[in-house]
Amino acid sequence: MGREAREMEARELRTVGAVTRRKDGLAKVTGTETYASDMELPYMLHARVLRSPYPHARVVSIDTSAAERMGAICITPDDVPDIRYNERQVSVPVKTYRDRTVLPWVVRQVGEGVAAVAARTEALAERAMRAIKVEWEELPAVFDAHKAMADDAPQIYENVLLGDAEFPIEHNVACFRQVSVGDVAVGFEEADLIVEREYQTGRVYHAQMEPKAALCRPLADGGIELWATLQSIHNTRQLLGRIFDLPLSRIRVHRSTIGGAFGSSIQMNTPVAICVALALKARKPVKLVLTREEDMYDHCKYPAEISLKYGVKRDGTIVAGELKTLVDIGAHNIQAYPLLGCMSGWFVSLYRMPHMNFEGTAVYTNKTPACAMQGYGNPDVSFAVESHMDIIAEKLDIDPIELRIKNYVGLGEEFWGQGPTVRSIIRSCGVEEMLRKGAPMIGWDERGRPEDKTGRYRRGIGVGRTFHTSGTGAAMPGEVIDYSTAMVTVNEDGSVDMSTALMCHGGGTLDACAKLVAEEMGVSFDLVGVSPASTTDTGYDVCTHATRGVYCGGGSAVKAAKSAKAVLLDFASRLIEVNPEALQIAPDPVTGEGVIFLEGAADKRITVGEVAKTAQLKGWGTAIAVESHRMVNCPPCFVTNFVEVEVDTWTGEVRVPRAVCAVDAGTVVNPDLAAGQLEGGLCRGIGQALLEDTAYDPVTGEMTCGGMYIDYKLYTAEDMAPVDDVKVFFADTYEPSGPFGAKGIGEAANNAVAAAVMNALQNALGIRFQFIPITPDMILAAIHGWACEGVLPA
């Protein structure tokens, strides 16, 4: 869309971009919102899971007789289908590695479930679970990705399935990916300067506030009904159908409100299948809610070791780049193959390189399995690349912002939204605007040089920029499935129902879709209802992940609204005798009800409700439409973070007293909710940079935090910068392929923060930290030159 058309549309937007009260807000502030863990059914049993105390062991025997004498229903590996599956269903099957069963005979991490019970009360279930006797044969375990690849390392798997084919596992390598463009050797030959560094990121826990839960009701026809903590009702249904050999028409998965996601439920998590197996055996509803400790052993973020090399010309032009990464995926391969593809894509799409090579290796260890967490490898790649940009800028004596502006991948160039098979051309880009506008807001030119800073408290300013994809759509099918389905119905009173299987993780995705529908239909936001959703009453939606909610889910909602509107206008044209293509709809300024009118003709007006009601009475039908829609682009939502840090050089403690967060989300559909996402992403990003990690006891294989928040620290309100010192702004862009010009925001909010913090630390202390999280002990070690793991010579 040209600038004029865009301006015309922007002037006319009524609902998109307006600040509104979130539709689920009332329930959430009054404590009446129902999460999966709040659900109850009559005669419901409570479940507990018997978990492995060993990081690697074979189950020799399980005796459930004592538990059964208590009246508990018990399941062991003998009672569950012998189906190997991957809990994540986003990739096409031939690219899906399947290595787990509902309950295994061989456990590969502490906390892996081997048996489960259901009983009348939670207390009885706990007692029964403890009465189960398991004979274990301990196996050697390995907790380090490098050691896991050694010849003498314990073998965690002999083979897994890739699609439906056996796939042998050697040296515990789960998968490997190499992606290259041009000839990197030639590129480095042409370079005037080559910079090479190692980086490492932590094994962060999602810490979504709601521990995972599932409630399953078996049905008389052998089917099941399920409420659970999840991000995709349809993928959950498909997987349950495969595991339990049930037709999908007999599985009804409901959308429940989720208490935070951050990627933790893209896959169907372990409690779901265990709960279903118990309910099918018990023939009664069964509810399973994880404890926080169990939840912490269920998943974490993919950590990464990154070896990065860039070759640049004297003027700062990048000519070649090479990124090699080693990812310790833990006990299961949930989505390492697409992760490595995405990491190559983030690398390619950050800065232009004629020659590029990427190599990624994912390795099994006997630790908590890693899965996607906000950014999916992007915070890791961006931390490395953005640190590198500052190093290169310093070596070439170029302003770091100018170096970024010289090299970033922008308008008209190719963006890899989900690895090498999901590409699109960038059609909207606010990178330069955000860098130029944000710099004075943080005081970039006054940040000073580290060598001039003295005293106990030292401040520094840093920048990080990156993006996230908006979904995983592309012109051609790739490794990842991406489309959404939406249904829009015009009700007989002029209100509108929107039905979709999309989820809201808290960021406002469903509100955004309702706004897009309201905009398209010409009714007020208040009159658009978001219908409850389950698999039986919605069409397929891949998953609310990959920052695709507003762009892809919203895209399908707008398409359905357009189609429903066409039916409505056809009805209206019969009633007021005007060609439907000449009719417009706008909300009545007082009632918000849609009014259908012919411009300039006062007698040619009728309300949406009158048309819908009359159409019903005359038997013409309902203005309703369902659209299953794939976006054929995956535009990047660019993000820029400036942060200031203050380091206490006596204690090594770091504060972030000021920050500027900017995003290029195209048209911003929910401005206040979008700002809230940026503030939340800032907090989580600072946590990744300075605080959060999980470590493992090399003897017991247990997490040193024990799965407890007391030892897994999170940022609190007191740790964050004052409200007036966190500035948020949006780039003024319009995405031509997006619904009313919108792109995503979600993951972008967090992706550049750690990079900005680490660059600010360098500006404060003159020390380049290459490991995150960087903790006070490491900072003191670096200041004083003490030996400390994680502190490398700059």
């Binding site: 919102e33 506030m209 939340g680 609190t716």
Partner: protein, 175 residues
Amino acid sequence: MLTSCTNAIILTVNGDEHMLVVEPNELLINVLRNELGLTGSKYGCGTGQCGACTVLIDGEPALACVTLAVACDGKEIVTIEGIARPDGGLHPIQEEFLGENAVQCGFCTPGMILMAGDLLKRNPHPTEPEIRHHIKGNICRCTGYNGIVRAIQHAAARMAEPAAADGPDLVKEAR
């Protein structure tokens, strides 16, 4: 064999008196959620470390996931379900949580609102550091806290206006 030693207790919850028979080791959060259907108090960690289960017991904030129900015998408890105005309208803190975008996934929201009410009862004009200090035991993973702090600032300003119908005491308002 299982043995049971139950206790009859009386809890006044959100102004309503309930006689309940509970196990001696039963936790307050389970009684509120499972017996009384007040699921607004959330289980976030079960060990008193996240604040999602916060309620007021005799006007003092308490963590329902580490409080025995029998220890609350004869006490007055206020949960998130009990803080709306008697006419059903929202409490100013709830209003401001909505208006200032302090709510994302909503799981920490009940505990945050109760802590905010407790703060404003003790200190009607808190500074920003005082607000942050008072809610630091309540974890929010979504918002980065700024929306929550703004909401409490605005609620304080609003409740200080002479036109405010009633004071900031959540317990009083539950009646």
